[in-house]
């Protein structure tokens, strides 16, 4: 960009064209007070503190809104300016309480700074002071308070919430003296659209918005969020050995939009009293699965030596008796790359088995399988920042704003401010669907029909990229032919989406210069998961949307380090860097490096491990930082498997539901207590830095494993996490250039081949990793379980914004738990009405595999016939209901489709031994017509005479009476 030169207080300064005068002033190193300006926000010009004198311009323009021009002559301070600034500040303080000494924000209060700078006078403030400072303080939010009396109406919070967070939960309301920052309808924040991210609190220049618990940190440590795969950089504010504050670090392009509620307020689990601090060994008199008393009572504390000996002996015994393949190792996507590397090395070299896997099996196994086949690389092809450059964003099967909130913000910003078009395919009306140009609310499990239908339209309208297809891809012809089976009418019928919408989606996507597809578990967690992903790959190749900025294939990885765990080879078929265990050359390389003969047999996947425990093929399991009792489909089955094991070791930070079944529990450190690296969803390897000392006797995961390994005769000697990464770099070409000293400034995106390589923001630039992109023929296949009369609702499962997976971390966060303390099931108004279910009723949800109780939430987000439940709660485990059928290619379970029925819990209880009630409960209106009723009974029913009915069927609970009355109305008995 062209540079512009101007003079500021007599000094010449050059800035890029398009800068503001304030930018130039700052660049000149001159201080000008501001209250409403922030570099991340659009120029606003409300406080007028930043006024300057510019030669040739009338009045005193605000420097934050005035663009620079060549040759401008700017004076930043004159006596007049000083006087005006002082008055402005005095006016602002005039209506502000004098409580600075006890204000939590005083240390960082910009108003205070500015007041000092301009020299506000007590006498003039007193003169302007209005008596009343009695606006009510909103303390409803669990994380922060809003005191309007301290608000100076700078509008930063309003603009942050709109421009950066994309939520618009607050705005100015009323006017004149009554102007107020306010939610819709003046509701308390807790009941408003606010998502509790705290972004506004961070930017508020005064104490108006301030955190509930403010303890000033002694130091800040830069690290990476341990929750989701976005991988936001953050600063942990530490006081003593406690995390007391979290702020976003502006480290790289990952989270220019700040942090979500989990990252900012969800890290107090680290210092939670439930943390395991000493190794535990199961008592001899406490058999597994008996659960007779408090879980912790089943164990006794032990010292590390004893516990590690136990583990080594237990594993050695199984290995000697039944062979190494009778041991399974489950690694963790919560752990660092270094931990994962050591864990898989332990399994392969120390134990001698490829039975190592982790939870990627449950989320993106299908992505890895399909993308390897189509492109040769199983990861996101472009970067998160590519969202800013796309003309069209197609989000399918991802509730991005809740599950990858910071990427969600980026999408919202792209749509609101860059004019990007948004297509959303999701059975639910999620937040993004509401702002979408096209929302395709297809039936669950019909993604292939939908995508093929769209592609057929693109081809028919000649909108596909012939050049890309012929020059860079292969196997196009059979694919093209296969689309013949998807004419609009058929697709409309299969997916339930109106053909106009399919056509519209095809037009929008097909015509886009740069389009990206972002998807999540809605695509992968199906029996057709791998094929679904292949269909996504086909769409991108067909339209040539790969290898360029603003395009790409974007599987949104779930866990903070699930990408890294895959990269590190915590998978049964590959060594680090996706090098196949079946390849003799690769094996030879690792055998030489690790000094052991290595198995060429692919190991068992996580889902298969649980199945084969029942066949006695797996006898011991070493689980690191995972909680399969809640995360596996058909959780009851998984729990049974764990109880059946000869030996179970669990290494974790809490006594999770899985750890409660263990023989030995080893206490590990959390992310805040160790060094290492996480690799986020855009393949960026980022540094995790130790912020506090390990709690109690906890130890770092890789060190624990190394100790067990040494006891089993395979010592591993590393001095630090960085040391481990050196070994990784040597053996893993795609990590070849990853060294700690290169990661200090924002990390590197793999493949990074060597020390000089700068990393790869965009994959498949000129050619695909596998050479040519491969089209696959994929066809629509129904989900394994379809709704029936007995189980009429299709249950979809997933996550919500405020919680994480099985909740062992997020349920232990005060704020997160306060916001969302209870599980619930989302059902449509129509179904609720039919079932006589009201908001907040306790309902029982059953599938062919089990029953859970939860609260009903009526919502327009789900369609009639569908329901949604998150799987974060142990007392209402959605995975008791889910179907364990697997995708045959990637062995990923179908978490997204299960058939269930819901019923009022009181009704279910009552109906158990009451044929009449169960008939009413289970059947559509009109059932009583077929009953042979006595005249008294008939009249009791007809008149809804509950007292008479009670005489006949026994006493009924209050809620049940209400239900029965409503239900009897549907019967229309009078017409009989």
């Amino acid at each position: 960009m062209k540079a512009v030169t101007l003079t500021i207080d007599g000094r010449a300064i050059s800035v890029p064209n398009g800068s503001t005068v304030l930018d130039a002033i700052r660049k000149a190193g001159i201080y000008v007070p501001t209250l409403c300006h922030d570099a991340v926000l659009k120029p606003y010009g409300a406080c007028r503190l930043c006024i300057v004198q510019i030669k040739g311009m009338r009045g005193l323009p605000t420097s934050c809104t005035t663009p620079v021009a060549e040759g401008m002559v700017v004076t930043t301070e004159t006596e007049e300016i000083q006087r005006i600034r002082r008055t402005i500040v005095e006016l602002a303080i005039a209506n502000h309480p004098y409580g600075c000494l006890v204000c939590d924000k005083s240390e960082e209060c910009e108003l205070l700074n500015v007041a000092r700078y301009v020299g506000a006078q007590q006498s003039s403030v007193d003169r302007m002071r209005r008596a009343s400072l009695n606006k009510a303080v909103d303390t409803s939010n669990p994380a922060f308070d809003f005191d309007p009396n301290k608000c100076i109406l700078c509008g930063k919070c309003v603009r942050i919430c709109n421009e950066v967070v994309g939520r618009g939960a607050i705005d100015f309301a009323y006017r004149g003296q009554n102007t107020l920052v306010c939610t819709f309808g003046g509701r308390p924040l807790a009941l408003s659209a606010c998502q509790n991210c705290g972004e506004c609190v961070e930017y508020c220049p005064t104490g108006a918005l301030s955190a509930k618990q403010t303890i000033i940190p002694q130091r800040e440590v830069k690290t990476v969020c341990p929750y989701c795969g976005v991988g936001c950089s953050m600063l942990l504010g530490v006081r003593g050995q406690k995390i007391v504050r979290v702020r976003a670090a502006k480290e790289n392009s990952v989270n220019t939009e700040g942090l979500c509620v989990k990252g900012r307020y969800g890290l107090d689990f680290v210092n939670h009293p439930d943390r395991l601090t000493r190794p535990l060994i199961r008592r001899d008199d406490a058999p597994k699965g008996a659960a007779r008393r408090k879980p912790a009572d089943d164990f006794r504390e032990a010292d590390w030596n004893e516990a590690l000996d136990r583990v080594a002996q237990g594993l050695a015994r199984v290995r000697d008796e039944s062979g190494a393949d009778a041991i399974g190792v489950i690694s963790s996507a919560k752990c660092t790359n270094e931990d994962n590397y050591i864990i898989q090395k332990f399994a392969r070299a120390a134990l001698g088995t490829n039975n190592v896997d982790h939870c990627a099996r449950l989320c993106h196994a299908s992505t890895v399988a399909a993308a390897l086949a189509a492109f040769g690389d199983g990861a996101m092809s472009n970067s998160i920042s590519d969202i800013d450059c796309a003309n069209v964003l197609f989000v399918i099967g991802s509730n991005t704003t809740e599950c990858h909130p910071i990427i969600g913000r980026r999408i919202k910003r792209a749509v609101k401010f860059n004019g990007a078009k948004l297509i959303v395919a999701d059975p639910r009306s999620i937040e993004l669907a509401e702002m979408a140009d096209v929302h395709l609310n297809h039936f669950p499990g019909t993604d292939i029909a939908l995508l093929n239908g769209i592609m057929r339209e693109i081809v028919t309208r000649n909108l596909y990229d012939k050049k890309f297809v012929t020059e860079r891809c292969e196997d196009f012809e059979p694919f093209l032919e296969s689309l013949d089976r998807y004419p609009l009418e058929a697709v409309e019928e299969a997916t339930g989406v109106a053909r106009e919408k399919i056509q519209q989606a095809a037009m929008v996507f097909g015509k886009a210069k740069r389009a990206a597809v972002l998807y999540g578990m809605g695509i992968t967690q199906h029996t057709t998961g791998t094929d679904n992903v292949k269909a996504v790959a086909n769409l991108l190749m067909l339209t040539g949307n790969l290898g360029r900025r603003g395009t790409g294939f974007s599987p949104l990885r779930g866990q903070n380090n699930v990408q890294g765990s895959c990269d590190m080879g915590a998978l049964p078929t590959v060594f680090p860097g996706y090098q196949r265990v079946s390849d003799p050359q690769v094996r030879a390389k690792f055998e030489q490096a690790w000094g052991r003969k290595l198995s060429d047999q692919p190991g068992r996947t996580l889902t298969e491990m649980f199945q084969t425990i029942h066949d006695d093929k797996i006898k011991a399991l070493y689980v690191v930082g995972e909680n399969p009792t809640l995360s596996e489909p058909d959780a009851e089955h998984a729990k049974g498997a764990l109880a059946k094991l000869d030996f179970l070791v669990v290494q974790d930070i809490f006594l999770t539901e899985t750890a409660q079944m263990a023989d030995v529990v080893l206490p590990a450190t959390s992310f805040a207590e160790k060094d290492g690296t996480f690799t986020n969803t855009e393949r960026r390897v980022q540094l995790v830095r130790k912020a506090i000392e390990p709690l109690g006797e906890t130890r770092v995961d890789w060190q624990i494993i190394a100790d067990v390994s040494a006891r089993m005769g395979y010592p591993m000697n590393y001095s630090s996490a960085a040391d481990i990464m050196e070994e990784v770099a040597q053996l893993t070409p795609i990590y070849g250039g990853i060294h700690y000293d290169r990661l200090e400034n924002g990390g590197l995106q793999w493949p990074c081949w060597n020390r000089r390589h700068k990393g790869t923001p965009i994959l498949h630039k000129d050619k695909f990793t596998r050479g040519r992109g491969k089209f696959h023929v994929v066809h629509d296949n129904p989900p394994a379980e379809l709704p029936t009369r007995a189980y009429p609702l299709v249950l979809n499962t997933g996550r919500i914004l405020e919680h994480w997976h099985t909740g062992s971390m997020s349920h232990r966060s005060r704020v997160l738990e306060a916001i969302a303390s209870e599980s619930s099931i989302e059902i449509s108004h129509v179904d609720a009405a039919q079932l006589g279910i009201e908001e907040g009723d306790t309902v029982s949800v059953s599938s062919r595999r089990g029953t859970v109780r939860t609260k009903a939430r009526k919502t327009g987000r789900v369609k009639p016939g569908e329901a949604f439940m998150a799987f974060h709660w142990w007392d209402a485990p959605a995975n008791l209901l889910t179907n364990p059928v697997l995708d045959p290619q990637a062995k990923i379970p179908e978490f997204k489709v299960a058939s269930v029925r819901t019923m009022l819990a009181v009704l279910e209880r009552a109906a158990e031994d009451n044929a009449f009630l169960s008939a009413l409960a289970e059947n559509p209106a009109g059932i009583l017509k077929s009953y042979d009723l006595t005249p008294e009974h008939r009249s009791a029913l007809m008149n809804g005479d509950i007292a008479a009915i009670e005489k006949w069927v026994g006493p009924l609970e209050e809620r049940l009476k209400v239900w029965l009355k409503a239900r009897l109305k549907q019967e229309n008995l009078a017409e009989v």
């Binding site: 618009g168 705005d171 009323y174 306010c182 819709f184 309808g185 003046g186 702002m435």
Partner: protein, 185 residues
């Protein structure tokens, strides 16, 4: 005596339908949308604002801000008869403050409020442009000039009586949802 007009309002669902059918949903249609809904329902219920938010894709909080910024918008239901007392200079010097005070006592409502029976809403206005007739009181769209406390009281009572009669005769309470305009017989 002149025509007595009763405000007739439509229901919320109809109003929502109206937002969908009469507007494209462009953000710059916000004010006309709000005016249209208020004209039709008499005020701006939250559900209607949320629907406008959906239609325009503006944040609901922004719309709330706009509604509370302009004096013309109401968030609470209004009575069938809106009594506006002018507080402009001309009316003020002719004693409009006394009239206002008297109505407040008489109806037991402050400006901006509606009587319990839902019949009257009291409002004040800066100037009606009928200064020659000061002090001025306006009921719905009818202007009454040269008023004083006594006359205003009488007017109010007259309206109350006539309204009662009309209701008794024509069942207006039912019919008024369809925007019926009733004139005295």
């Amino acid at each position: 005596m002149r025509a007595l007009d009763v405000k007739g309002f439509i229901g919320l669902e109809e109003a929502i339908e109206l937002i969908r059918s009469e507007f494209e949903g462009r953000p710059d249609e916000l004010i006309p949308m709000l005016q249209r809904v208020q004209n039709a329902i008499g005020y701006l219920p939250e559900e209607a604002l949320l629907e406008i938010a959906r239609a325009t894709r503006l944040p609901a909080a922004r719309i709330f801000g706009v509604v509370t910024f302009y004096a013309q918008f109401r968030l609470r239901p209004v009575g069938k008869y809106i009594i506006r007392v002018c507080r402009g200079t001309a009316c003020h010097v002719s004693g409009s403050a006394l009239i206002l005070q008297d109505i407040q006592n008489h109806l037991q409502v402050a400006p901006g409020q509606t009587t319990k029976d839902g019949l009257f809403t009291l409002e004040t206005v800066a100037c009606f442009g009928s200064c020659a007739l000061a002090p001025v009181v306006v009921v719905n769209d009818s202007v009454y000039g040269l008023m004083d406390s006594l006359k205003t009281r009488k007017l109010i009572e007259e309206i109350r009586e006539k309204h009662g009669a009309i209701v008794a005769r024509a069942g207006v309470e039912k019919g008024d949802r369809n925007g019926l305009r009733i004139f005295e017989g």
